[in-house]
Structures are given as C-alpha cells and as structure tokens.
Symmetry: C2
Subunit: 874 residues, 2 copies
C-alpha cells in the first residue's frame, strides 16, 4: 500500500505533485526550521484513490489518519475533544497547481460540546469560544453536510431580533450558547442525524468533503479555463489551529516579501492584532501596514522580517505569506510564490539578477509572456473603475483602454476625428471597408465575432483596444443606436472600452498611459541574448513598421499588400480593375494603382532597411473589394457611370459560396498574371527608388500566397523574377532577393519537397492552415467552438494556440520534406499564432528561423522565444 | 548515333513507342507476310531529336533518309523523278498513341515536271497524271510550305470560269497542265522560291513538316484533352504509293473485321473501284459494301477475307484496315485496332472469349469502363440528330437523352408531371430545394456549375440526364424564359437534352432506349469474379437502392439522411426544429420527424438486406433547410405564425461565411445531440420493424460525418450505441452493427490512429477531403479550374479523379495509421470519385474494402475494379 499521509516534518517539500502546493510548502518551511503549526498532508494520490474507490476513503486511509492524529496530539500535548486543552485543526485543500478559492476549507475542526469548554478556559473568553463553535457548526454544515446557509442565517437573524441587537458582536455568550443549540437542531432536522460530536468523525467527514470539492462546478470551470488536468486530485492539509485572537499579544496578517504591484524591494503587508484571518479579509476593522508591527511587538517583528528574508532566499522568489501571532509566538501558516503585476514581475526579476540571487535565465522564466502585453497598453485608472457603471462584457479582443463618443460607421468616425473628437466605433461586425474608421477611432466594439474575427485581428495589429463579440449588444446601424437589454445608447454618447478585460463602461474614464521603464529594456535585452528564433512583425504600413521596430521587431514577416487597396483614393481604381472587361482595361487600371503601391513600399523599406521585409502578393478574393448592399452598389454604379444592373450582376457573379476556398491568393495570379506583375513592378521600382535616393538597400522577400501545387509557385516565381530583373536591369542595379511561399493549404505541406524546389523560404500561414486542416471557418466557428471547449473536444481554441497534434503534424511534415530538399530552407510563421507563447515554443522546437506577429505582440514573442530556448536546454 | 530509320522489313512491330502505331503495324504486317507497299519509318526519337536540335533534321538523319530511298528505289525498281517509272511516296505521321486527323499527310510525293510524264505513261492517262500533280502541289503547299489554300482555290475557280466548265472533272488535261503552271507561279510568289522539283528535297521538307505538325494547335489541344504527354513526338512513315485509280481492275476501300457498331462477327466495310482513298471519304460516289467485291473480283476478295482473318488472329482483336487494289494486286496500307461502340466492345469481347481467342482477363481489359455508361442510358436516334437544330452546348454532366417542355421551377415541373406532361427543368443552378422537380423532370439544364455542381451530382445519382454550366444560356426564372444570344425560349417550348454530349436541341427528338443484352450480364459476371474490391452505392431511397442492386451494387456505402428532410411533408417540421427556442421544442419537432425517417429506413432495409447499409447521420448546416429570399422568408413566417423580422434574423444568424467549413456534420450533434439521437432511434426502430415483420435482418453501419477529433467520434459513437442498445433491448432483439466515420477533414487523416480507436470503419469522403486539402471550394472552383488545367497546373479536375499526390497521400497515411491500430479496419470511399476508374484503381492499390458510387456508376466501378485487379497481377 502507498503511503497516503506525510507529517510536515517528513514530507518532501519539492514534491508538489504528491503533496499539493500548500502541503509541500508547509513541509519545506518546517524543514528549514520556520515556525509552522504542526500537522500533516494527505496526498493527491489519496484523492485519486478516493475517486477510483467509488468515493470511499477506505479503512487503510482512515487508520493512517488516526495514527497521525495521535502523533499530533502527542506533539502538541493537546487532545481531541478535551475540556482542558482541546486539539483543534484546520482542514484545507491544496492542489498541485494553485486554484485559489475554488475548493473548501474547514477551520476549528475538533470543537464539540466538550472542547468548547476547553477553548473557553484556554482563551479565558467564553463568548469567543461559543462564537467559534457556532461558526464551526455553520461552516461544517455548509462545506461537509451541504446544508444551505440560509437556515443558519435565519436563526441568527431571529435571535438578534429577539435579543434586540443589531450586530453579531453584540450577542452575549449566553445567546451564543442558545444559538449553538438552535444550529444543532437545524442540522438534526436537515440531515436526520445529530451534529457529529466525535472529532475523529468530523475529521473524516471533512477530508471527504475536501476530496469532493475537487469536482465541484467552480473547480471544474476553473480547471477548464486554466488548462489544468481533471485527474490529478487535491491534497488535504490537516494543521493544528493557532489563534490570532487570544488577546492583545495575538494577531494575524498577510505579507509579500516585495511589493506585488510595483516590485519595490520592501516587505508589503497588513496585520490586525487580536483577530483571526477572516477579519483581515472581511474589512470590518482596518488593518495596519506591516511596518507598524515593529512598534507593537519589536521582537516578533524582528523574527518576522528575518523569516521573510529566509523564505525569499530559500525560494529565490518573492513570497506571499500568511502569519499568525498567538500570545507573542509567531507562526507561519502558508507561503507561496506571490502573484504580481507585469511591472512588478519585471522589476523583481531585474533586481534579483542584479543582486545575484537568480540568473538571467531564471529571471526570464519568471515572467509570464502573456503579462507583458499589459505593459504595452494604456489601462483605466483603478480608482475610476471602482465607480464606473458597466454596460456589458464581451471578449477582450485587443488590449488597451479608451474613452470616446459612440459612432456607428467609418465615415462618421473619420469626420469626427478631423474635428478633434475622440470616438469609439461600434459595429455588428467589421469588414475590410471599415479600416479607415478603425484607424481613426480610439477603440472598437463589435456585437459579433470572436478573438480572431476581423475586428480583433486588425485591432491587435494596430494596437488599438477592441472588445468583440458583445453578445448582449444589438447594433442598429441605420438608426445609429445600440441596445443592451432595456438601455439605449445613441450616437455621440460617451462610453469607455477596456480591451484588457472586455468590459464596456458608461461615460469617460481616466486612463493611465504606458510607462516603458528601464527595467523593461534591460529584461528584454536578456531575452534577446538567449533566444534563437528571430522575431518579425506583420505590418502593412510605415506607422506599424515603426511601432514594431520600437518593440524590437527584426524584420517584417508579413506585409499584406491588399490592405493598401482599401484606402480612399485607391479603392475606385481597384474596382475599375476588377470590373474591367478585358486585359487592356485591367492593365490600364493596374498602371494607375502602381504608383500608390510603390509609394507604400518605399515608406516601409525606409523604416525597415536593412531588416528583411516579406511582401505577400494579393491574397483576398476580388469580391472583397466590391460593395454588397444594393444601396452601395447603386452608389458605385453611379460613380463608375455604369448601370446598376450590370454592376449588380458582376457582384453576383463574383460572389462565392466559400470565399475562403475560392478564387483568391495565387489563383488570382494564375488567371490574371498582370495583377502580380504590377505588384512585382511596384516592389522593385520602390527598391530602386530607395537605393537611388541614397537609402539603405532593402532586404526583399516576395511571398506567393495560397500555393497548393508546385506549378503555381514555379509559374509565379518566374513572373516575379523576370519582372524584377527587368526593373533592376533598367536601373542598372543588382539585388539579392528571395521568392518564397506561404504554407497554408494542407496540400502544400503534404508535397513540401516539391514546393521547396521553387521556394527560398516557407512562411506558415497557420490561420488558413488551421481552417483547412480542421475544416473550421474562422468566421463561423464561433457558433460551436464554445461547446467544443466546454465538452473538452478541444482543450483550447485552435485559432489562438496551434493545434499541435493536427496542424502541428502537417507543419512538422512540411519542415522535414522541405529541408530534405533544401537543408537551409528558411522557415517562419506569420499567422496569428506567431504571437502566442505555446505556439512560439512549438516553432522553436521545429527549428524554425523566425516567427512573425502583430507589432504589439513582438515583445511577448521575444520573451516566449527566450523561454523556449531555455526550456530546451533544461 | 541512334538508328533513326527502319525499313518495314526490319522494324519491330511491337515497338509502338519508337515507330508510332502506324509504323509498327506496317512493320508487323510486313513481318507476317501481308502485301504492304514497301517503305520505311522514321522514329519518334528522330522527332524528339529534331526538337532538341533547334528544329533541324541534321545531316545524319538526311543521309539515312537518302540511303533508305535508294534501297526503296531498288526494291520497287522505280526511280525518283523518272520520266518512265517514277517512284512516288506518301509521307504520313504516326504517333505512339493514336491522334486521328491531328497531324499532316502528304501523298504522291515525288511528282515533278519529269515524273508527271512517267505517271502519265504508266497510267496511260495524262489527265489523271496532271490532276495528281496539281493536287500534289496544292497539298504540299498547304502542309509543307504553309501557303493559304484560297490562293489555289481562286486560280482553279478562275480557270473553270475561263473554260466555261462547272466541275473539276470537266477540266481537260491541257487545262490542268496550265493550272500546274499557275500553281507553280503562286508558290514562287508566296515563297519567293520555285516549287521544289527535286523529289529528295520535297521529301526532307515533308518530313520536317510532319515533325512540325506534332506541335500545331489542334494536336496540342487534342493531347491536353486526352492526357497524352507532349514530349513523346511522332514517327514519320514513307511508303511507296499504290494507285486504286488505275482503271477497272483497281480500287480502294476500308473495312472492319467485325461490325464496329453491333459487334457482329462479320466483315464490315466499303470500297470503290477505280478510285483513290479520298474518293471514298469525300462521298462523291457511293461506295459499295465490301461483300460486293466478291462479285467484282472473286480472287482478290478471297485473298482479302483471308488476310483479314490473319490480321484479327494475329492481333487478337477487331481490326480496322485500309486497302488498295492496283491492277488486281491487293495492298494493305494500314491496320489498327478498330474503334467500336460500347455495345460492340462488349459483344466482341464475349464472342472472342467463347471462341477461345482471348481470356476473360483480356476481354475485361478490352472495354473502357467509361464506355459502359453509354449502355445504361437512352441516346438520341442518330438519324434524328442529323437534322436537329443545336441551341447550345454545356457540360455533359449526367448521361442520357430526353425531350420535354421547358419549365423553370420545381413546382411547375411537378404540376406538369401530374398532368402527364414531360418536362425539362431549366435553372441558373439547382439547390437541394429543387430535388422534387429534378425527380419529376425528364432532364435538367443549368446555366452555371461544373461537373460536380449540385445539379450534376444529384442528376447522376438519379441517372437522369443533365447538361450543366451552359455558359451561353441566360435564365430569367421570374419571367420564365431563357435566352441564348438573340433567341428566346419560353415556358412550354419543346427542347431536347443530350447528357451524353452536353448538347441542347430544339424540339422533340426520338430516343433509343437501353437494351441490357445477355452479353452485358455475362461480361460483368467475369468482372465480378476477378475484382477484389466490393462495389457499393450511394442511395437515399428505396428506388435508387433497387436500381443500384439491379446494376450489381453489393451494399449501400452512403445513405444521406438529409435528403429525406427536404420532402414536402417534412421540411416544415425540420424548420420548426431549427427555429425552436429550446431543447424541449426541438425534441418535440424531432419526435414528429422520427416516424418519417423510420419509414425511409424500413424501405431501404427491405430492398438491401442482407447487404450492408451505411447510414450517414445529418451532415449539412441547418441554414440549408431555411429559405434565403425575403419573399420565401415572408411566406414561411406566415406559415409558421412568427414575425418576418424574427425569422429573417434567425436566417441571418445562421448564415455562414464559409458553410463548407461551418457548423455542420458531427458539429451539429456536439451542440445538439438530440438530433443524432432521434436519427439513431429511427434507424434502430426501423431495424426492429423489419425484423418483426419477418424481413431479412438488416446489416447496419452507422456513419458519423466530418469528424476531425477523436473525441467527437467517441462522444457520438457512445450516443448511437446507447440509443441503439436501448431500442434493441426494448424489442428483445440482438444486432451486430458497426459505427464508423467519414474521413473527410484533413485532420482526421493525420490522426487516423486515434480516430480508429473509436471506429469500426473509415469511409473516405473524398469530395470534402479534396476541398479542404486543396483549399478548393467545389462550388467556386469553376472560376479558375479551367485555367488551371489549361496552364497544366493540374492535369485533371481533382474533383473528377483523385489528386493522388496530395489527397492520395493523406488517404495512404490514414490507411496506414488506421490499420496500425486495427489491422482489419474496414476502408471504403463514398465521394464522387468512387465511380471514376483511376480513383478506383488507386483504392484497389491502397487495399480498400469497397468503393461506393451513384447507382449508374456501379457497373463502371465493377469493371474498373476488375481491371485494377488484373493490372496488379500483371
């Protein structure tokens, strides 16, 4: 039989898997000689055994529990149920991975009709003893016996009314004694059993209740949200009680070894004298800063500060502790690695490295990449938030915080911007036509769409705050109002958008702007030293490129040329091109587009050179550039001086059943090579212009999208190279450039050896590759992906983090096949996944050269790449 | 240096690759001692060398040609350009794979100002000699010198006018002499060179012209259409001329050793006395049946019949020969395997087997599976076709022939059918809502959509003739007319649809009905003996099931349950189910659907048992069952007594950007398990009903569509099994049934080992697998697939024949992974590819258990499977 119980003296403080986090830390503290009330830990394996054993503790475990209780009685020189000096214990859950507040705790276990007398003697406070007892009955009944709380609340209220008092504290010892009797009657009535008087029975019942709480709803939801396995169980810690409320030489508090908000290297905490832990939390009395303890109990304070230093030194990280002083004796009830803000995490890591406490690698591993984002975006002032009225919640689609007036379409937003009015763009969903409005608005709200909807992707790319998929919002774009249940919000109303939390508030809220401290730069430079993956960015214009370079991007991994087509001056020409009836008309329109594209590329090259720039040729289906509503078609027909009927028919003809799998990407160029030819000319003419004007020589990579067959690539590669060489030759220039392809169609991955023959690089378009490999339309999957995650079909949204088993298998295959032909084939990724830490780790594992992500994700990616490199060495 | 020329005596009659088909056959005939005019063959390698040699013959080839001409002069005892007995030759192309009429031929080469005198002497006919000469100049000028024909036609017309004659034959020898001079002047004027008088120069020029003709436009298009490689070149045959027009003891003709139309074992052919080959073809004189030759020249006839017998016996197949009699001497100019109708092919194969000439295996290999289809469908009477007016052409989407009155929607077609009126349904494109009309119509025409559009797929499934994608047709469904350029066709007009050729005719044409002869049954029984693949069918109702069993289906591989949802009584309930606001309402609607589904299954089981039936649970997205046009939504809202606005909103909410990748297949059942539960109940209750009523026990396989993750399958498999066991238990029955899945999402193929753990079988849905692997929407790919095939990106439409390199790789992977877990995992295919011979061969190679295809493709599949088995052994 396995050993299911370890006393704190004997447990292995490193084995969190077996003892849970709390249990392991208690053992560890005991081991390094810190004052920890004695007790023992029942292992997570016992919990698992409980579940496999049809939810029974089993005789062996029970025997082991009693043996440890006997030991505890001896060590503490106290006895369960004693009327003189009763042993009281706490029973707490403690899983291997922290799940704060998700499971149950029972305090003061051991109290019964006898022990309460002992407790009164010990504390010389009968009122306190009975108050403990009635609280214990209530807590035990709730947690263990599962009796609903209102029964006890009603009895308490009735008693107070009877006694004519308002507060609990005004009840006398006698009243509380009577209350205990009433409570016991409630238990008898509800469970048909008297309240258990045997402390050992109480203990077994409490242990079982903690085991059960592992599978309560809260806990399951929490584990789903945090990707914690469901089969690892919780440990149970049984610890002798100490009391902070035994008079003026007792007290209790919580503390951090450093400031968890700023990271400052100074103990930060609060305490209350003559109080129990729950009083600190309840907020009835105002706790004092922990520094005040020096005045109250200088010796205890000295020991306290020394112990904190020991703990931090032992764990080599900032600790979050709970402590209790019982009659001038200091006890530590818990220690754990302290949660901290991103800013604090950064500062603590940097300080600890400069103090020689940890290595740079350890520092890098200490900061969660996901936290970094918070450093790059404004947030609402915390004070302001406390008083703000919440309108609704949606998905935190793009971080940041902004206030402004509500407007419902791009034109209005742009017009307001010109007047200097700050706006929030509110739409049912956005489409590429909304780009200008999205640029001009302070923040964006959509009623539909998920974390990877158009609005979300584009907003993240811009670093603009966005809340998407606000299911409760009904947008009436025609009448320029939106409804949230009964309430109506009109054009011009002020609202505030918190993209960090997904919350929408009424009115204007103060924001705190981004502070890029020196710690950040230093910390990120360590990440840069360590990582081997290059980090590039997805950027389509000089502004985003500049932003990304500021954030540390080493090149552009994806420059989407179509975004340039949507701008006001250009879209009419693009439409003429699409509606042209023959190749001559199309050539003519393309000729007029060329200077615009060239100008764009010049701007980008000027920012980026000598960093590499990967330009993807036109990708979306042509119908995306045409209007779809009759009224817009009518307007365009007028502008273009063609008949509505004709234009409508073209729009209808171009419409596709599944545009995702339609006439787009390189398929456009197989049918209309002149489009890519124009783009190639614009690119190379831009290179020439930059070089001729004395700028640094651009490092150019041209990328062909949506390739599935080697012939597509070989034909279009030839087109790009011929066009490029012609332009360069005319200018008398030589340039070393690359032509490569996206790997985003499953077939391309399957035949990557053939594709590689014509490619200087592969860039994995994991958005589309995920769509096609899983058969999930990103725009439609919102309808079922929630249910899929709820039913644990997928653990995580495959559009957020690469589906390693499926999509990852194709990526691995493509890498192997591609490099079998060209061992030095450059590999990268430019989907949304390029900024997601687990996906970045996977790319590192595959031996990719770079990942590319939106500018605001570049720092996250730099850190994640460094962590992947460290993990690989470990 | 390679040997580039073989005399007919020396060439290897088996080596068609080197000598071309015609050359090899000439050598072979020579070898077995048949009377063939002497000559030689220039190899296909010489042609390839010509192209790699910058289109020059080269001195070595020229020397070899002259050497062989010298030999020929010796053997024939004739001399090039002789005024006494000139050697004249024909120069003909002859590729390894027959390309009839695609390349060029020159006859009577060797004629010049001297030789024409010799020819006149020999034939004792000066007029004939000069007529030959002027024809030779014209032919040589056209083929070799590339002078446009009209120059010569004009000169001829001018001469006739001058002479006051109407017909060529009325021109005198003197006139023709003058015409020869005029022709030579034309040549001089057009080419700045005199007409070449040196026969050797003529010969080299003619050889080069034949080489060039390999790459003329016609030939390239033909090769593309017939999947013939472009780099294999043509051989050139130089053969001494013989003349069938040297008087009453000369003649010429063509013949088949058996009847190519019926297959009857009797020589079939025609001849003309005193005529050249072109006279037979030109149709100026009416040829006589070859049997008449017996009366005219009994000895020659005897030799002729004997030779034909020799030839057929030698080649072991029906032959198609050209022959010439020159002054009572019989010559054979060509023999080749004769083309034949499907019916003839079948009869000849069966006769040859019963005569012990060939084996069953050889017989099976002799019939092209694609031909079989013609035996299963009506065709138009050939006579009727000759006089019919063509309206337009489209894609031959589903074979058969039918006439009827034009109608434009399902309701009208159904109403007419009830009145006994035969109709043709004409639509821009069809959707599932048109099913009833498609059933009721005689034939279907669509203006849009390809070979795998809805109309095409459904029509083929029904065995109904359909012409799809008639690009010139504009359908105005509102006004019930269609236009083809200027012409208008109205509701009620008669038209005729030829699904075999894709042609639409005006008026009513007579059809020839299907004759299923005894030969067919016997032949197919041999195929069944030989093949190892099982052949199943895709059928959704008893009618199609019956049809498929008649055609030899051994089970149902795909029964689509959604087709049953569209019928008139059911669709309102389906819509209620979709529009239900909660699970109770949905359950209630499902409860009312259940009896219908159950009834369907009973009908199918009764037809099929004890053959296996694979039932696929609901697959399409729910919005397919709702109307999309405002007027239809309004009508439905009225029927359902809900507001238009509410219904419209639901329709909008259910709409998807990419329905192909949307909320469909098993995803529906992950979100609404009650749908599959109802279907499972209906299936098992149907089984119970059949068994209880004394029917044969159904062999049931339940199939879960669109699985991409093992969890989807494990959850839904459990649902089906639990539901089924409950129904069976209540009925006190036991049944061995299978639950399996479609492999149609690429991810499923990638993780097929995990999927296989929960599957009793895999059925590859190659339509969807192709869509997702290639990223081609089947409904949209029509916009670019033509260009893709034209530019040789794909050799064939991947929706017609499996893309073996890409999709096939996934299939191979899935097979390997799946069988690694379950070595006896049953594998099949149920996409459109299941009826395509090359795809069937691939499934055979992969070791699949069965293919499933529409009923009318079952015989094709049986034959193709047998051929694959034979090829594997070879």
């Amino acid at each position: 039989m396995a050993q299911y119980i370890y006393s704190f003296e004997n447990g292995d403080g490193k084995n969190k898997k077996l003892l849970g986090g709390k249990g392991a830390n208690l053992c560890e503290m005991k081991k390094i000689g810190l004052p920890v009330p004695d007790g023992f830990t029942i292992t997570t394996e016992a919990c698992t055994a409980y579940y496999t054993n049809d939810k029974a503790l089993g005789a062996e475990l029970e025997a082991e529990v009693f043996e440890h209780i006997n030991q505890l009685e001896k060590v503490m020189n106290k006895t369960f149920g004693s009327t003189e000096d009763p042993l009281l214990v706490s029973v707490r859950s403690g899983a291997a991975i922290s799940m704060p507040g998700m499971m149950d705790t029972v305090l003061n276990l051991g109290l019964n009709d006898d022990a309460v007398i002992g407790l009164a003697k010990l504390t010389e406070n009968e009122r306190f003893a009975y108050d403990c007892y009635r609280r214990f009955i209530q807590m035990f009944s709730d947690v263990v016996l599962e009796i609903q709380k209102f029964h006890f609340d009603r009895a308490l209220d009735a008693l107070k009314t009877k006694q004519g008092v308002e507060k609990d504290v005004d009840l006398t010892a006698e009243s509380l004694k009577a209350l205990v009797e009433t409570y016991k009657e409630i238990v008898l009535k509800q469970t048909k059993q008297p309240f258990p008087q045997d402390p050992k029975e109480q203990l077994l019942m409490a242990i079982e209740a903690v085991f059960r709480s592992w599978n309560n709803n809260r806990a399951i939801v929490y584990r789903n949200l945090n990707n914690i396995p469901h089969n690892i169980g919780t440990a149970v810690n049984v610890q002798s009680m100490v009391f902070g409320n035994m008079g003026d030489t007792s007290g209790t508090g919580v503390a951090f070894t450093r400031n968890p908000s700023t990271g400052e290297n100074a103990v930060f905490g609060e305490f209350l004298m003559n109080a129990q832990g729950e009083d600190v939390v309840a907020g009835i009395r105002t706790p004092q800063p922990v520094s005040e303890l020096e005045k109250v109990m200088p010796e205890v304070y000295g020991e306290f500060m020394e112990t904190l230093a020991t703990l931090e030194h032992h764990y080599l990280d900032m600790q979050d502790v709970e402590f209790t002083i019982e009659r001038s004796k200091l006890y530590f009830l818990q220690t754990r690695t302290g949660k901290r803000t991103a800013k604090a995490a950064m500062k603590i890591a940097v300080d600890m490295v400069s103090d020689g406490i940890i290595s740079k690698e350890e520092a890098i591993m200490r900061v969660d990449p996901k936290q970094i984002d918070a450093l790059l975006h404004p947030t609402f002032d915390e004070k302001a938030l406390e008083e703000a009225t919440v309108i609704t919640k949606g998905l935190p689609a793009s971080p940041g915080a902004a206030s402004g007036r509500v407007f419902f379409n791009s034109e209005d937003v742009v017009a307001q911007k010109e007047k200097g009015v700050k706006t929030i763009l509110v739409r049912t969903e956005t489409s590429p036509e909304d780009i200008e409005g999205m640029v001009a608005a302070e923040g964006i709200i959509t009623a539909r769409g998920g974390m990877t909807s158009h609005a979300a992707v584009v907003a993240r790319g811009m670093g603009k705050c966005c809340v998407a998929g606000c299911g409760d919002v009904r947008v009436d774009e025609v009448n320029k109002v939106f409804y949230v249940y009964g309430t109506t919000y009109r054009e011009g109303d002020f609202i505030s958008v918190d993209g960090n939390t997904g919350t929408i508030y009424e009115g204007q809220l103060n924001t705190r702007e981004v502070e890029m401290s020196g710690d950040f730069g230093l910390f990120m430079s360590w990440a840069d030293e360590i990582r081997t993956l290059k980090i590039r960015t997805n950027a389509d214009n000089p502004r985003d490129s500049r932003q990304a370079v500021d954030f540390g991007a080493e090149g552009i991994g994806l420059c989407r040329t179509e975004h340039m087509f949507f701008e006001e001056e250009r879209i009419p020409i693009v439409r003429e091109m699409i509606l042209s009836k023959n190749i001559d008309e199309r050539q003519e329109a393309l000729e007029r587009l060329l200077p615009f594209q060239k100008e764009d590329f010049i701007g980008i090259f000027e920012v980026m050179a000598p960093r590499p720039v990967t330009i993807r040729l036109l990708d979306p289906p042509l119908h995306e550039f045409l209007p779809h509503l009759d009224e817009d078609i009518e307007k365009l027909a007028e502008d273009m001086r063609i008949s509505f009927k004709e234009l409508k028919q073209t729009v209808e003809e171009l419409k596709e059943f599944n545009p995702m799998l339609g006439h787009r990407g390189c398929r456009l160029a197989i049918t209309y090579p002149e489009i890519y030819e124009m783009q190639a000319r614009a690119i190379f003419e831009a290179v020439v212009a930059v070089v001729k004007s004395g700028g640094e020589t651009p490092v150019l990579e041209v990328m062909i999208p949506l390739v599935g067959h080697e012939k597509e690539l070989s034909l279009l590669r030839a087109l790009v190279i011929e066009t490029g060489e012609r332009v360069l030759e005319e200018a008398g220039l030589q340039l070393d450039f690359k032509v490569g392809t996206m790997i985003e169609v499953p077939r391309a991955a399957l035949i990557a050896d053939d594709i590689a023959k014509h490619a200087d690089f592969f860039s994995f378009g994991t958005n589309d590759l995920t769509q096609m490999t899983l058969g999930f339309s990103r725009d439609d999957a919102g309808k079922f992906i929630g249910e899929y995650i709820h039913k644990e079909v997928f653990e995580r949204d495959p559009f957020a983090s690469i589906d390693i088993k499926g999509v990852g298998k194709l990526m691995r295959m493509a890498k192997k096949l591609g490099r079998s032909v060209k061992p030095d084939l450059k590999l990268g990724i430019c989907g949304e996944h390029g900024g997601e830490p687990d996906s970045i780790a996977f790319c590192h594992e595959l031996g990719f050269d770079y990942v590319s992500c939106s500018p605001f994700r570049v720092p996250i990616a730099r850190l994640a790449a460094a962590q992947a490199a460290i993990r690989e060495k470990a």
